[in-house]
Structure formats: C-alpha cells, structure tokens
Symmetry: C2
Subunit: 294 residues, 2 copies
C-alpha cells in the first residue's frame, strides 16, 4: 500500500471536488445563503469523515465513486454542526479552521439559516447514493438521520451545553463524546461500507472501529487544546479551560489522557482484523490520527 | 361528504396522536431536548399541512394510515422553521401559538438545537413512509428535502430577512411566499398523493393546487396580522408593520389583498376538477381557509 500522505492529499482533493458538485452553485438564488454554505464548507477542513467513508468503502471492496455522496453528506453534517456550535448563544467562537466563523462574516440570523441549509443539504445529497443489493436509500437515510438526531449528535451537544461550568465525571464526558464525535465517525465508515454492499459482520466491525477511533480522536483533540497554540489549531486554543469545560486532560491529567488515546486506538485497530490487508488504509488513518502533534 | 368541522377535529386528533408516536419520548435522554421538541410541536397548531397531506391521500384513493408519516414530517418541518424564525437573531418573537416561544422557555442555545433536532426528525420520520408501486422512500426524501432546502423554504426565509426595512415589489413579495409558504403546502399535498400511488397527472394538479392555496393562505395571513388582535392570532399582532416588513396589505391595500386571496383560491379550486367528487375535502379546506375571519 502506498504512503498515506499522498493518498490523503489526493483523496481530499476528490472530496473537495465532489463537495463542489453536491452543493448549490454560489450563483443560484438567493446568493447569500449559497455563498455562506460554501464559505463554511471550503474553509480548509481535514475532511476526516469523508476520508473515513471512502477508506471504509475501499476496505469492503467497493468503488470509491459510489461512496462520494455519503462521504460528502457526513462532511456537510459535520460542518452544519460547527456553524451552529460556534454561534454566540452556543460556544461563541470567532475563529474556525483559521477563519472568522460564519456568524462573524454573515451575521447571526444568516448563520442559523446556513446551518439549517447545510443540514437539509445532507439529505438532498444522501438521496443520491447508489443502492446495492443489501442497502437502499432508505437504509442510508436512516443511518445518517438517526446519527444526526436528538439522541446522538444533537443529544451530545445538549449534554455539552448543560455540562458547562460543572465538573463532569469521566463517564459523563465519555457520554458527550460518544454522541458528539464517535457517532458521526461511526456513521461515516458504516455508510462507506454500505455502498460497497458490506456484510452485516463487516458493518459490525466498523461500528467498533468508528466508536473507538471517535473517542480516541476526541481525547487527542482535548489534549491539543491544552498543548497547542491558536495558530496551530486554526481555532481558539485554551478555549475549553477558559469556558470551564470538562475535558480528558482536566479529569484524567495529560499523561493518563495520552494513554487513554493509545488504548482506544489499539481497540479500533483490533477491530480491523476481519478486513485483512484491505483494512490497511483505515489502519494507517487511525495511526496517523493518534500520532498528531500532541 | 360530512361537514368539514368534525372531520378537521377528528383528523387533528389523529395527527396529534401520530406526532406523539413519531417523536422521541420525553423521558428519553437527554430529556431537555425531547421536552423542548414536544413543547413546540404540541403548542396547539392548526395542523394545516398534515391535514392537507391526509386530504390529498384521500383524494387519490389512498389509505389515511399510509400518509401519517409524511403528514407528521411536514408538520415537524413547519415547526422547526418557526422555532428558528422566532429566535432573537431572526424575527425575535416572544409569542407563538399563544405561548412563549422556545427560546423564551429553554434559552437561545437550546432553541437552536431544538430546531435542528426537529429538522433531523423530519427525515427519521419520512423514512418510515410506506412505499408504493410508483414511489419509494427515495422519492419522498427528495420531495421533502428539496422543499426544505436553500432554494425553497430556507431561501424564502433568507429573502424575507434581507427584505426587512426595504420596500419590496409585489413580485419580490410573491417570491418570498412561494418559497416560505407555498412550497411546503405543495409538498404536503404531493406527499399525501404519493402514498396513494397517484398518477403524475394528479401530482401535477396538486402542485398547482398547493401553489395557489399557499399564496392565498399567505395573503390572508398578512391581512389577519393587520386586522386581528394578538389574542385572536396567538402571536404578536401588528408585528409586520412594527418591523417594517413588506406585506400584501402594505403593497396592494386591504381590499385588493382580499380580492387577490379570492382569485388565488379560485385557481386552487379549479385545479381540483380532475379529482371529481374525491376532491371535495380539499375543496372544503381551501374554502374554509379563505373564509377565516379577516
């Protein structure tokens, strides 16, 4: 298998190009909303979720082309959640991916509508996913709608909002990140696998993979918030502590948090055994995420 | 055909009961968001959109039972848009359906999340619509997602937001209401018809019906905002003028607005001819809406 870095770069480019096709043109009326949707989507994200979707499709022997729609859908869902989370009435963030946040550029009302429009676009895009013998658009729809819903993605944000200023237990913190981060990463790999007509056993393995990778990813994110600068992060550093948010380093300490991330990554990697050599790309991605500067 | 009023009452009851089933229980975690979702849904709306869905299914010879999921989906979509429109950064409304608005009760951040959760729930619910020979979940999904998207429902709200404080032409005003109101009413009848396996010709007739009824409905809404009290409306009266919003009465005058509503209703009724006697319920509803106190 080729090196990860060039593959990542090439795949990000493919994802960006597909995102361009799956979003309304900036010239479509009303222009403001389409400009704002594209502003947040093309702000230089890592495209982790679509990359996982494509790598999972590959691991299950599918065509990358067939996984582009759900890959973009997961990225659009992630972006909508950031636009709304950054609002003054939520996390009140001025900076995201190194640029002013949506409400700073377009105003609060427009940022609410931009998030809404992106969320709705998720479903316009998911409807375009090719069906397989085992999976129909109904299956893709249920997968992503339940993941984005009040019991998972939004539920996690609710717990996060309610937990601010309180001292959370590790268990409570895990609950937030299961919903906020791990659920969408799990959905990303599952959708990719579904477009490859994966067996239920492989879907199960990817559920375990996504869950553990998602938690590991969040632990590392929390560590980076403590150890990196705003410039390195592209978002306000030290923010968690400033707003008195419970984080892994705050609860466990830095060293134990690093160990926790390694433990979770190991569990994620173990779940890939069923894919044999075909799982190498997912394995490379998991290792790469763990070895981010922190 | 029996009288409209008892049918409306019985149907509203059925819709409310279905909405109760299609929303997460209040006891499901996190409780706050599910309480807030139900607070806005069960605030005593007229259930116009689901009623249109069910009446359209009936007009096409379908089973009411099969149309309950999309009926609820349209009502949930309508409610999400109200929750977000009422936010301080949008229309800043304190009162809706006679009760304090969501952000007044649950706070702004939670109201944003509640709208998001309702919007996502639309798609969880639409996935549960029974398929027919002609129409699959993919068709239902595309219908409602495109209607809710940046070029229709949200696009209309963008134009509305951008038009505040400006003097709009009649044409610009119609554009807003085509998107904000008529699109979702059209989608409501079309989805009902689809669950009844309606022919494309019947879908076309209902598209004309929904469009004209939607515009008529909005003209009447604008008139009521001028002529009725806050108590009668259940939302702040005189609000349009107070925020310098362009309305039909402001542009055309009251008398011409009334004539416009009658003209549009007539066009809507004409489109029902293809349904013969089966279209009577839709006709009754259209007449009833026109004859609201105004």
């Amino acid at each position: 298998m080729d090196d990860l870095k060039p593959w990542l770069k090439a795949t990000q480019k493919q994802v960006d190009s597909a995102l361009g096709r799956f979003l309304p043109r900036e010239s479509a009326a009303p222009k403001t909303i389409h400009k704002a949707m594209r502003y947040s989507i093309f702000a230089g994200g890592k495209r982790l979720r679509p990359i996982l979707t494509l790598a999972a499709a590959e691991a299950c022997g599918g065509e990358l082309e067939n996984a582009l729609a759900p890959a973009c859908a997961t990225e659009i869902m992630h972006t909508y959640s950031l636009v709304h989370d950054d609002l003054p009435c939520m996390d009140d963030d001025d900076l995201r991916r190194g640029r002013p946040t949506s409400h700073k550029v377009f105003g609060e009302g427009m940022a609410v509508l931009t998030g809404d429009a992106l969320l709705t676009q998720v479903f316009i895009v998911i409807a375009q996913t090719p069906e397989t013998k085992r999976y129909t658009v109904k299956d893709y729809l249920e997968e992503i709608a339940v993941t984005g819903g009040s019991k998972k993605l939004i539920g996690g944000q609710v717990l996060d909002l309610e937990g601010e200023g309180k001292e959370l237990s590790k268990r409570e913190l895990v609950k937030i990140h299961e919903n906020k981060t791990a659920a969408l990463l799990t959905c990303s790999v599952r959708l990719g696998a579904m477009t490859a007509n994966a067996t239920p056993a492989k879907l199960d393995a990817l559920t375990t993979f996504g869950y553990n990778l998602g938690l590991a990813f969040q632990v590392i994110d929390d560590i980076l918030d403590v150890t990196q600068t705003t410039e390195m992060l592209g978002k306000t550093a030290g923010k968690d502590e400033a707003v008195d948010k419970s984080t892994y380093p705050a609860i466990l300490g830095l060293e134990a948090s690093r160990k926790e991330a390694a433990r979770l990554t190991k569990k994620a990697l173990k779940s890939l055994e069923v894919f044999g050599k075909k799982g190498q790309r997912l394995e490379q991605i998991a290792r790469y995420l763990l070895e981010r500067e922190y």
